[in-house]
Symmetry: C2
Subunit: 612 residues, 2 copies
């Protein structure tokens, strides 16, 4: 197991290009839009803890603490780089409420304090520890942004109560959280405060998991919340995909902090099981809405894909952690896949609306195949919404985008690793690094490094890239080009040759059999009926054809229009006809980035298509 340290997003100033625009939209529009929807729905008000049965106020839900916590975390990341007194005031108001309403023994939970106080720490599925985990992440982010520790101190008291109840008295109704998250949050806090009790509590929850029969084990034999085996024995990703990937992230953190090789081995196998058997090309994971869960290997239906935005984020977190302890480019490849696809598809182009589920295929006719709406099959929604009853995804997207710079660099000894590519200036352990690039619109990168003489620059060669050049000599090490920095002022020119690429899935994936998906660089593309007419399934794309390429300012990337064919309908005077000779008529297939689907009204959409 290796031991790299990431360079925090605060040290990485994204100055232009694709991600600077996304971050600007995030801080100008999205953070406020999420705040306002959370206010409309009573989530902020709930922190007053004055809801009563019969009240006009909406009844708090047991995961609402986490929604606001993630919003605070997001806002904190934003104000760390772009001070905003309004956001800061919003955060302080929430902290005021928490401080005022915290129980004498340290407990705080807006649901259990006012709705079901008798169920405090009784129901494993009531998300108290999950909510605490997100509050911890929020408090750490707020401290890092402002230096103010009031929020941290409030939570320290609550954590002491959790230590007492779960590890000393063992008086709770369950031993480990039903929804994991607190494990990674506690280790984040441990890294900040260096207080061993936080790490010990995280390790307690990890070590107890799956060891003894617990509450709610009947649900999928405990697989639903990864309680079916001790964590070190888990080798396949099972159950609720967001819970799973948060757990695995915590396991990777714990492996790094403790040197636990058995945890590390489990993490490597879990990552491989996900990315080699259970991940959509978009990076989406958790293919079924039933339990929002991983299913069997290669079961990746496109039209019913659940692929929750939060699961893509959680897998990106897991991958980002894995790259620090197992320096192979495949981890940052997955982060990149999520950034441009599985996560970003969760957000509308105007920054105001969100997908919870991210299908890879939409057939609108399936939504109306029965006369009675009660008879229709359960399918993902086809347009993004501003807020959900369970609105975990929106503030997860905002924190992801705001802190994205933290995935770019990591360090160990003389090595400076460059994992992601975007226009930026960064301060990296004494060295100054700038990157000039139009990535992901082309693969030319100019990397300037000052103050790193004698170090080694380790630049990820993206997994999608089959042809590349570096202006300096390099050696390859597990997907990274390693370059000696021999001068104080050093410029490296890179070209990752970017062209439309057509990918096939493993022949074990039934949903994609005989089909291809198009990528340009890291961006996965799709076809929408708004561009291509109905019956996308009848298109056969000529992959050897020359595409028309147009930069689309709304998408921030290029679109590609390939020659294609359709079946000649004139030949089909009856429902079934001899298959040969095939009669085809010319057509076009315009590809737009997958992340931008469903931004121009309801449409059929597909990532996978027939090709020749």
């Amino acid at each position: 197991m290796d031991h790299f340290e990431p360079v925090g997003f605060q040290n990485v100033d994204i100055t232009g290009g694709f991600w600077a625009a996304k971050q600007k939209l995030n801080r100008d529009v999205t953070i406020y839009a999420v705040r306002d929807r959370f206010a409309d729905t009573g989530r902020f008000q709930a922190f007053e803890c004055n809801w009563k049965e019969g009240s006009d106020e909406p009844k708090p839900h047991f995961f609402w603490d986490s929604d606001i916590a993630k919003w605070i975390e997001s806002a904190s990341y934003i104000i760390a780089q772009h001070p905003d007194p309004e956001l800061e005031k919003n955060i302080e108001d929430v902290i005021d409420c928490i401080e005022k309403n915290q129980c004498a023994d340290g407990y705080f939970n807006i649901y259990h304090q006012v709705v079901e106080p008798e169920l405090r720490f009784r129901d494993r599925d009531h998300h108290e520890l999950y909510c605490l985990g997100h509050l911890i992440e929020a408090a750490v982010a707020y401290y890092n942004a402002t230096g103010r520790d009031r929020f941290l101190n409030i939570l320290d008291k609550y954590i002491d109560l959790v230590i007492l109840v779960f590890t000393v008295e063992k008086s709770a109704g369950f031993a480990t959280p039903g929804h994991e998250e607190i494990e990674l949050a506690l280790i984040k806090l441990y890294r900040l405060k260096k207080d061993r009790k936080y790490l010990d509590l995280a390790m307690f929850f990890l070590n107890e998991r799956g060891v003894n029969p617990e509450m709610n084990m009947e649900w999928c034999k405990g697989m639903y919340h990864q309680s079916h085996l001790p964590v070190r024995e888990q080798r396949t990703a099972e159950g609720h995909s967001v819970r799973a990937c948060y757990l695995y992230s915590g396991m990777a953190d714990a492996a790094k902090e403790t040197g636990d090789e058995a945890l590390f081995a489990a993490c490597r196998d879990l990552f491989r099981d996900i990315t080699e058997r259970k991940m959509y090309i978009s990076g989406g994971v958790g293919s079924s809405n039933k339990g929002e869960a991983f299913t069997v290997p290669y079961d990746l239906p496109n039209d019913t894909a659940y692929a929750e935005t939060c699961a893509a984020i959680a897998l990106s977190f897991f991958a980002d952690r894995m790259k620090e302890i197992d320096p192979d480019a495949k981890y940052a490849d997955v982060v990149e896949r999520e950034m441009y696809n599985g996560v970003l598809s969760g957000l509308s182009l105007d920054g105001r609306s969100f997908f919870y589920e991210n299908p890879l295929e939409i057939n609108l006719s399936d939504h109306t195949r029965h006369v009675s709406v009660n008879d229709h099959d359960r399918l993902p929604i086809t347009q993004r919404l501003e807020v959900f009853g369970c609105s975990c995804c929106p503030p997860n997207v905002t924190r992801y985008i705001a802190s994205l710079g933290g995935s770019v660099f990591s360090l160990k000894d003389e090595r400076i690793c460059v994992h992601q590519f975007m226009e930026l200036n960064a301060s990296v352990n004494g060295a100054e690094i700038s990157m000039e690039t139009n990535y992901p619109n082309d693969g030319n990168i100019r990397l300037t490094v000052a103050g790193a003489k004698g170090k080694k620059l380790c630049v990820r060669v993206p997994g999608w890239c089959t042809e590349f050049t570096f202006s300096r000599p390099y050696t390859m090490d597990r997907g990274y080009a390693v370059i000696d920095v021999t001068e104080d002022a050093f410029t490296l020119k890179i070209e990752f040759v970017m062209k439309p690429q057509f990918f096939a899935a493993s022949p074990a994936v039934r949903a994609d059999a005989g089909k291809a998906a198009m990528q340009y660089g890291p961006v996965v593309y799709c076809l929408e009926s708004v561009d291509n007419g109905g019956e996308l399934f009848d298109l056969t794309v000529d992959t050897a054809g020359a595409p028309e390429i147009v930069y689309d300012p709304d998408f921030g990337v290029k679109t590609f229009t390939f020659p294609a064919t359709r079946t000649d309908k004139e030949r089909f005077s009856s429902l079934y006809q001899l298959a040969k000779p095939v009669a085809a008529v010319p057509a076009m297939a315009k590809f737009i980035p997958y992340f931008a689907f469903a931004n121009r009204g309801e449409a059929d959409m597909t990532v996978w298509f027939r090709y020749r």
Copy 2:
């Protein structure tokens, strides 16, 4: 509208080949197997009408009368050609019960007399008129087989009650049956007895249908039971597919008997809507389990196909009737499609088990994709059963096979039409016809006709056939070859050139896009994993390759093994790889008849496959 008369099955002796074997199995095994399962489940016992709440006997269901009625009808068809005292005794016993337990006013229904007498004629979905319809068909069949009219007389009294309650008093809780069937049964009885009251009652039910709002109209706006429009205004097939096709059969009968051109026009359009937009290549109809219903045009999913065996039978009945009033070969084409595929797949090769649903694709992994069985998607069962709670299909298959000879010939004036092909001797309105053939194993037919000098022989050229020869001159008329019979002893040699044919579906059918299905003559084929290994979806069949052809005595037809390719799995070291160059390895694709799937244990199966 034309006016042909069918030649009844009693006059058609199937002497050898494929269908003689099926009829022998039907009378030796299937009729007894169905009888015994109906006895086990209390269906025969229920005719004693002595069930009481708290009784040990199974509680009758409101469609059980129809199950036994169809069994009697089947047994009557069998004893008409192959006397069987045991079956005759069984029938007489049931008639005894009905006679004994018939109400004084004529009413008879095993469910409503003992379970819910207060609901007599109150609930439109309680199938009383549907049950009566099947009893009428049984009584007509038994009379034709034995000349005994006791059963007919019992029902005549019941029908008089129905006439009184529905057309005079109008005192029932509904105006027309929730499950159609009685319409065609009453016209069958009218044709036997020539009593106008039966036709009038049938016309009453047809004419009242969809005219006034009725009970249970809320279900799919009345479409579920074809009550959304007056029947003459119905132009698209909607709702429960068995009910629909029984209704349409009754409408065709009524059009023929009354000369009603508006009814005829509706029938023609309904037939076209089904067969050009809503029918599987197997002849299966009703693509959804939700309401067992027709859905939108071209919505023909293969793995979730409902395609009830009874619906295939009902469509065959409808097609058989249409050929009498609109002499186009497309109708008998559909009958043939059902005979060899959509109906026959409902029966196991050993004659003992049945499918209710007939999917065109099975992926066993879909049945286990979730850890929890409660989470699994609703899919058709993968193995045939001996009896069902709703066991309408088994006795429907037995009556279909027993009376199949009735679909072969029809007559009008000097024309003798030959619609189907099998080894037989027939007595056709004074002429003697024999057919020698191995159909469907080859397309050579030797037709010998005696006593038909001066007549015209109209022989259907099957829709699948693109190349054929007749030993005599002919002219074509709507798919029939018309040949003048100039001698008293006349022999016609026909060759319908039979070879494996690959069909494509209309480009509007998403489920079949880019795929082909294989037919040999009228028989649709499929691939099973028991022959071809797993992952049938990864096979690409070389349709230009030379197949290995083997006659399989268990199937009664040939199997075809084509060269094919599979993806080279060695190339797929990761889940997604560049699609080109395509790396394929040689494979074989063994096709077995679709009707024989699921006879060798559970297996993946597909009718549609990729091809080149």
